[in-house]
């Protein structure tokens, strides 16, 4: 399956949609297609129903959490120092805001090809975390989108039954997010080291204060 061709096919079928090919550096060569939120359901429907593609089987739906990241690189800049142009090394920091992501792996049971990897990204990872649900297109996404809602906190609009699936309903956090801090219920640990030792000590200290 040629990703470029699929991209142009989609663009022809769903005018005005935003698409971007995301390259994958690993030898697996599974490159993916980033969809704009607005037309995601239409695109999904096209992918499912297009007689050539017939991606009727949505195998895997995954959430991914990308934290805010800061990359610093050294750049050589030409600057006027004391009236003389010199090459000076400068550290430039680029801040990439973090984002959440839902990744869909599509296959075709009829044509027996695949995978096509789709990605959807909500605006940010704090307050605008909605995505259109693809469950109306592929029902196999039902539980998996619920799981992403539960563990990552992405809200899928149009999902028929969006509740917590793995954690209990009273639970408030989204534990698979990278910045989730789990409750410290460590106790006496017979073989502690590193993080566990710290947590165990903390827990004991708090207990002692009570």
């Amino acid at each position: 399956m040629n990703l470029e061709k699929i991209k142009s096919d989609i663009e022809a079928a769903v005018p005005g949609c935003r698409l971007q090919i995301i390259l994958n550096g690993s030898p697996s060569g599974q490159h993916s297609l980033l969809l704009g939120r607005e037309h995601a359901v239409e695109i999904a429907r096209f992918l499912r129903d297009d007689p050539e593609l017939r991606l009727d089987y949505c195998s895997n739906v995954t959430g991914v959490d990308w934290l805010d990241s800061e990359t610093s690189e050294k750049v050589k800049v030409k600057k006027l120092v004391d009236g003389v142009e010199q090459e000076v090394e400068e550290v430039r920091k680029t801040r990439t805001p973090g984002y959440l992501e839902a990744v869909y792996h599509l296959y075709s049971m009829e044509k027996k090809h695949g995978p096509l990897v789709l990605r959807l990204r909500p605006e940010n990872r704090t307050d605008h975390v909605t995505l259109p649900s693809l469950t109306p297109v592929w029902r196999s996404a039902e539980f998996q989108e619920r799981e992403i809602f539960d563990l990552y906190g992405i809200i899928f609009e149009g999902h028929p039954d969006l509740r917590r699936i793995l954690m209990w309903d009273e639970f408030e956090d989204h534990p698979m997010r990278k910045d989730y801090v789990e409750p410290n219920d460590y106790e006496y640990e017979p073989t502690p080291h590193d993080a566990v030792l710290e947590k165990s000590k903390q827990a004991r200290a708090i207990e002692g204060q009570r």
């Binding site: 006496y188 017979p190 073989t191 502690p192 080291h193 590193d194 566990v196």
Partner: protein, 205 residues
């Protein structure tokens, strides 16, 4: 006829019942604890520390390198390296673990510690009758509880132990040859021992 299928099935059950008196293939009950299933050689349960010779403290192969502690998936190994050194089986001065604890109430018997150990020091035991009513006292094993002689290893895993012994003998021969060569030029060589380069990845348990 209604009931024919059920009757056929019952004949099968009867055949099985009678067959269980004659056929070994039907795996009739092994009357544990009086009789036991034959010990399968590869069986693994919990790790133990191998020592050479008779004195477990002097012969301990472990050098406290803490690789297993780092690689242990459930983090159930706790090691503290000693401050001083003691001679190992080959005669080189090595560190030894001042503390070596394994919490078997956490251990998942995955034997990754065995796989990554470059010193053939930790191996898997086959002992499984360990039930206890004392969680913390009975299931936290220290160095003394963990140490077992090499002869025991040879008893429970003969094939692997032979391979391991051969490997160590080879290492020893190499070190001796090197020492001999070095001894010709320099008599007093205080070896700060580099880790023995055995292939941890392919070592059998």
């Amino acid at each position: 006829m209604l009931g024919e299928g059920i009757a056929k099935g019952l004949v099968e059950t009867a055949r099985n019942f009678i067959g269980s008196y004659f056929s070994k293939n039907r795996l009739t009950t092994v009357q544990y604890p009086e009789e036991r299933l034959p010990q399968i050689e590869a069986t693994r349960d919990f790790p133990f520390l191998v020592y050479d010779g008779d004195d477990w403290q002097a012969g301990m192969r472990c050098v406290g390198c803490q690789i297993c502690e780092k690689e242990c998936p459930p983090k159930c190994i706790y090691i503290e390296k000693s401050k001083d050194k003691k001679p190992d089986a080959v005669g080189k001065l090595q560190f030894y673990p001042a503390v070596f604890n394994i919490d078997v109430s956490v251990c998942m018997s995955c034997q990754i510690c065995v796989e990554v150990c470059p010193f053939e020091a930790i191996k898997m035991d086959t002992e499984f009758e360990l039930s206890t009513d004392n969680r913390f006292g009975g299931l936290l094993w220290d160095k003394a509880r963990l140490s077992k002689p090499n002869a025991y290893y040879g008893k429970v895993h003969p094939t692997d132990a032979a391979a391991s012994d051969a490997l160590l003998a080879e290492e020893k021969a190499k070190v001796e040859a090197k020492a001999k060569a070095a001894g010709e030029t320099k008599t007093n060589s205080e070896l700060t021992s580099p880790p023995l380069a055995t292939s941890g990845a392919t070592s059998k348990q």
